[in-house]
Subunit: 460 residues, 2 copies
């Protein structure tokens, strides 16, 4: 759809002329987010600065039946912020202030466009930890974190974004501004809209302020690495760690393909003969961290690890973590198109799932490396596709359809932390069933009777 | 309303004749839950044994527009399970099996009628901790815990029930059976119905199975007690504990009235000259627990504690906790009617809130003792009312209306862990505002188009 001149004039009167873009060259960069293969330009990009401006835009959009897609940095990996039906892309990056940090109440209040790293650093400056730690933290916004219920590397010990959202200010598609929750951990007054909106991916309301819980900053942190012949052995080591009462901050793995890619890329001195690499780490009081690292190293050795190294100092700990952090850039370098996916299976079935992924990759003649969060069963199978091969995209889609089906067969899910967006919507029914899909649509309508907010995504 | 004979026959054919009660003498005991002053008998009490029976009852009820109130033990304190409009009381206590405990996946699957204690003990037998710890644990059911998002004594370190619900099987009022979530910590496929249903107090669906996360059992636990001249001092000590990076398992307080009542009741040797008693405790590895207890004791002393005792052994630790556990029975003993309320304020405002409560009590000539969870700002002001005084109930209602208003003024909430039910519904609008109340009603309709499920409560 094209917006008529009257709508553009109204938008300009709401946010100021310099904060509305509608020329083709201006809107084209906003046709995509970080998801490959999805692209659709908005008719206008609008940058509000205040909640009242967001409310005015939404009232206008509902009155005129114009699609609105809210977004922050657009770093999501499921095409959640691609404006499939055009309309208005509402970019919240001007609303980027950290409004308050309370050391007494252990919370931060921020506008949605503040980056995760900005919030985490503001908290750290007061001796506090913002626990959610998505890989995209330097660019992703806290509003986007909440909208996608972002996960990250510390999920097992610390949980995901959902566990830290105390309260939200949200503008409904019809323009009302509501405040859900507040500053409290214990509050059961009314339905839990705070959690319902967390992970709703901009389909139910536009988040204009977040109140997030913080924790005291752990005194120290350390990391170790273990190599195994196979992922099955690494998986058994993870089970043993938890069986021995250790719930560590870090339990990350790389498969054989990822180890090779990282070594080619970064020359970290990783073993080339290993079938799996397990990073384990913890934070807290120094003696507890040392005890847990030692125990985890011993349990890895007991399960037949080829080699175990525990960092002696922070610099070494950072060097070990580098292997995990550069898994994606290392894979991306192999070719020009990288499709990073996201499934979760019950922890004991992790090795089985990676076997399934390897079989799917072989069947479709694809290179798929898998890394992820061994502690919570969250895997990131990543296909590396030659873009000069026009059939490769089709094979990739076919392969991932089989991978999602395999995850469901193993009592898992089609997305652990990236979200549904447009990319996973075709698979959502397989996960939820017809009755639950119908219920999601009725809930969507309860929030958005005109269906203007992020159409073509969950609830549509 | 009275149920016609045809409906009773249908109910009997669904669950078996012996599992339907409808004689006045049979239904009268189900007119109340644990909430004083609320009473309304159901027309029939139905005890299903299987999910399909629940579904059949709900289909019948929707078709015939018969109110249905689901409940477990009926131990809630907000009249959430009083059948205000009669109809069917659906009691789920026959569905009381623990279906599975997975030590590898750290979870328990159970039917809703299993008691909290049964689930906790089954987990403990496998070396696992079910963290939510409501005071009612020996009688309350896990289905009721989830339906009310029960809190408890370990909220600060471990969070509330919401943080442990992985998945639910739920029957919608129209009879569809859906499964939300599953066995995973990381799962963002679709709106977070698991959390929306948690705390929805039987107004959106009937929970027929729960999957709950467990934790490794802490190796040890210990407790200390500190007396202060005033609650303000105790509050400052709590702030200091958190400022020093300790997030303990236990931070409970009793005010002067409660200390006196407990001492009269149980003769524990509590100090009569104290204005506040603070219980502090932690669990985990022995050295960490000892360090945290010592540190908390020192911080209490620094804030001017009259006396600090740290338990030397488990028996002493239990003895110290006894003071907190018998606060309610001690108050109840003073007279025959005890109204136990539940508000939360931001942690730094706890002493201010208790001052407000004392002023309200004096103004209305009431005895109100306050105890609760200092760590998360959750207070239980408890009015002890002479039932021979007919005006006392009115004064109690008037006093609590002022107490709820005071909590909201201090950025708090009208219920931290007990729920809204019928008792708090008159105050919910003050907390949420008109727009959010309207949204709750639309969400309710999305689940329950005929409005049969727990009418007269949240969403009605």
């Amino acid at each position: 759809m094209a917006l008529d001149a009257g709508v553009l004039t109204e938008l300009e009167s709401i946010v100021g002329r310099e904060h509305v873009r509608h020329e083709q060259g201006e809107v084209a960069p906003y046709a995509r987010d970080a998801t490959p293969l999805f692209s659709s330009p908005p008719d206008a990009v609008v940058f509000p600065a205040r909640t009242e401006e967001v409310a005015a835009v939404l009232r206008l959009a509902t009155a005129r039946r114009i699609p609105v897609v809210p977004r922050g940095a657009g770093s999501n990996l499921c095409a959640a912020t691609v404006p499939l039906q055009g309309g208005i892309l509402l970019v919240l990056t001007r609303m980027d202030r950290v409004l308050e940090i309370s050391t007494e109440e252990l919370l931060v209040r921020a506008e949605p466009g503040a980056t995760t790293a900005t919030v985490a650093e503001a908290a750290a400056a007061q001796g506090l930890l913002f626990a959610p730690d998505p890989g995209s933290r330097t660019v992703s916004t806290v509003g986007g974190n909440v909208a996608t219920c972002a996960g990250g590397l510390r999920g097992l010990k610390y949980g995901v974004t959902r566990n830290y959202v105390l309260g939200l200010e949200v503008v409904l598609p019809t323009g009302e501004v509501i405040r859900t929750g507040g500053r409290l951990w214990k509050d059961v007054a009314g339905y839990d809209l705070t959690r319902l909106l967390t992970g709703s991916e901009g389909t139910l309301g536009v988040i204009t302020e977040v109140t997030l819980a913080l924790l005291p900053m752990p005194a120290t942190a350390s990391t170790g690495v273990a190599y195994f012949s196979s992922l099955a052995e690494a998986g058994r080591a993870v089970t043993q760690v938890l069986a021995h009462g250790v719930v560590p901050a870090t339990l990350e793995f790389l498969d054989r393909t990822c180890i090779g890619a990282v070594e080619d890329y970064a020359r970290l001195g990783l073993r080339g003969d290993a079938g799996a690499l397990l990073l384990f780490g913890d934070d807290g009081e120094p003696d507890a961290v040392e005890r847990n690292l030692t125990r985890m190293g011993e349990l890895c050795a007991d399960e037949g690890a080829l080699e175990v190294t525990v960092a002696k100092e922070i610099a070494q700990s950072e060097a070990l973590l580098a292997a995990r952090r550069c898994a994606l850039p290392a894979l991306s370098r192999l070719d020009t198109l990288t499709v990073l996916e996201d499934v979760t299976v019950p922890r004991p079935r992790l090795a089985e799932m990676v076997d399934r992924i390897e079989a799917v990759a072989a069947r479709h003649d694809l290179l798929i490396g898998t890394f992820g969060h061994a502690g919570d069963g969250n895997l990131h199978p990543t296909a590396v596709v030659d873009v000069r091969d026009p059939a490769a995209a089709d094979r990739t889609h076919a392969a991932f359809a089989e991978i999602f089906a395999a995850a469901l067969e193993l009592d898992g899910t089609i997305t652990g932390e990236h979200g549904v967006g447009a990319a996973k919507l075709p698979y959502l029914r397989d996960r939820l069933g017809d009755d639950q899909m119908a219920l999601l649509r009725r809930i969507k309508t309860a929030f958005d009777p005109a269906g203007i907010l992020n159409p073509g995504k969950t609830g549509s």
